[in-house]
Subunit: 99 residues, 2 copies
């Protein structure tokens, strides 16, 4: 392994997931979704003390990381955990943390 690629793809992916989890609001959203299957953006913004636009940005970050996905149910959007990537994240952190 050359000096230029010391970090493995696994470490990069784990870091990406960790980055997405690195804000309390996103952590809250992920915990809620992993416990109750799905929720609506509107419900979240009713509960959280942040602007709708800020929540939207956080949801976008979680989507970009691949941890959640949203389905349009006009006029609302239903968010849920992306099971495939959630499983991958579970594996990566299990291995990384040794649990």
């Amino acid at each position: 392994m050359s000096l230029k690629t010391v970090k493995t793809d696994k470490q990069i992916r784990t870091a990406r997931y960790a980055k997405a989890m690195g804000h309390p609001v996103r952590m809250y959203v992920l915990e809620l979704l992993s416990n109750q299957s799905c929720c609506y953006s509107g419900d979240l913004s009713d509960e959280l003390p942040i602007a709708k636009s800020t929540l939207s940005q956080h949801l976008k970050e979680l989507k970009d990381a691949g941890l959640i996905q949203g389905e349009i149910e006009s006029p609302r959007i239903k968010y849920c955990i992306n099971k495939e990537n959630w499983k991958e994240a579970q594996q990566l952190f299990k291995q990384f943390l040794g649990i």
Copy 2:
């Protein structure tokens, strides 16, 4: 629980650990330390393609998050995992990820 404190202390702490892990260099350092007990800053900077000062910043971030600690062995510094907080991180992520 009032609207102003929706996020729990646990979520905040987990997010803090996640933030510290949210960069590939720090992920690399943590993985190395969890596998081999300890290492020297100098050895890390020989391996990683980043400036010494940049590595120092990353090590400081991991220390600030409480995940690692350093012992001075003049003229070098030996870094190792902070076992107590590592255990806490294991617990928090185990619970959060459901593994």
